[in-house]
């Protein structure tokens, strides 16, 4: 089930871990290390942009490559852990 308009769940936020030089998603009692792709996608997840918007931004960045399925899959994976949810409305 792909998201329409994803947003980070309450209490979930992006954080730059300067000590380990990596980006992480922080949430209650946990942290998820993000690779570059995941970071790029999550940076665009704001509860305003739709999945299509996010895919379009990234596609432009990568010379028109079709990335929608990859973005959907990535967000689904993070969504399964309750960290990304559907924005209201």
């Amino acid at each position: 089930m792909a998201f329409t308009r994803p947003k980070l769940a309450t209490g979930v936020r992006l954080h730059r871990d300067k000590v380990r030089e990596q980006d992480v998603l922080l949430f209650p009692e946990g942290a998820l290390v993000l690779n570059e792709t995941a970071l790029e996608v999550l940076d665009l997840v704001d509860g305003e942009r739709t999945l299509d918007d996010i895919a379009a931004v990234l596609s432009e960045r990568y010379e028109g490559a079709n990335v929608k399925d990859d973005v959907a899959e990535l967000l689904d994976g993070i969504g399964e852990r309750g960290l990304v949810v559907e924005a209201d409305g």
Binding site: P28, E29, A31, R81, G82
Partner: protein, 373 residues
Amino acid sequence: MAEWPEGAPHPLLLIAELTYRCPLHCPYCSNPTDIGASKYTDELPAEDWQRVFREAADLGVLQLALTGGEPMARKEIVDLTRTATEAGLYSTLVTSALPFPKRRVEALHEAGLDHVQISFQHADPGLADEIGGTIAFDRKVKAAALARELDFPLTVNCVLHRRNIDAVDSIIDMAVELGARRLELANTQYHGWATVNRDALMPTRAQLERGEEAVKAARERLGASLEILWVLPDYYEELPKPCMGGWAQDAALVQPNGDVLPCQAAASIPDIAIDNVRDKSLREIWLESEMFNAFRGTDWMQEPCRSCPLGRQHDDHGGCRCQALALTGDAAATDPVCQFSPHHDTIVAARREADDPEPAEPAPFVYRDLIPQ
């Protein structure tokens, strides 16, 4: 700053025990039994805590637990939280929710508090208050509602033992009703006051099995809407867990007076110097203190860990040092929970006792109290 020593771990978690004052009297409380001692009532000033939070962030700490006792009993809690936010730490308030005044909680929200965890003792109000030794249940329910109203992610925590483990089903229902996103069902770990109350707290094997079944069923029923953590008590396992992710690997705990430990019970280990953040930086303590280095890595291990038949040295780090001390008299021994420990029979005996179908009389609780010493 000096270079980070090759291979030294970076901590992920800082447990800040801001005070041992607490309006509750839980008989399973993991705080030391001498919480009333003057060394603990001489609480670390707020400025020192703020410095420690900044130092923790510089060491690589990501998660901060503001706990106690009751952290809300520190009047500077809002300022402390703000400093944590500014340092980039993910902050959790671990609270009994007594007190949980609206103004203050709103201020905490504004100061950037990330997450609220409220403890419950049972799903039945009367029994809950009896276990906690205070009239608290209704206020906790109201506090949970307030936390949700302010859009905090909410964790409900319930420490399980003989007198509430049969209520796992209703505790799960309660967590759902309260709007919790996480439920921690933590079987009692036998440290601090829990050691004193072990006979009254230890569940039977049948109780544990029923509890585990209830958790499994609920997970299937509720899916991702409620994350349920279920931590088996060591006493019913054949292999130990890595205590705190391994001694001095992931976590540091600062006591109300500024003493720094690798885990809650480490102060029970005799003859190891304990450093205090009033005298040294957290970095110096983390890297160089006798306490943190005592059981870091694997060099300190004895048999059977040294030549472990399962090669688990890096998985469980030989188990819990404090439990090894409590049950064998030697903090460097293999945790007796391990089936290979020559002292495993102490664990088996404790289980057998708990399994006694009809204990002559249920052991009474010794309630946690701040007896001045």
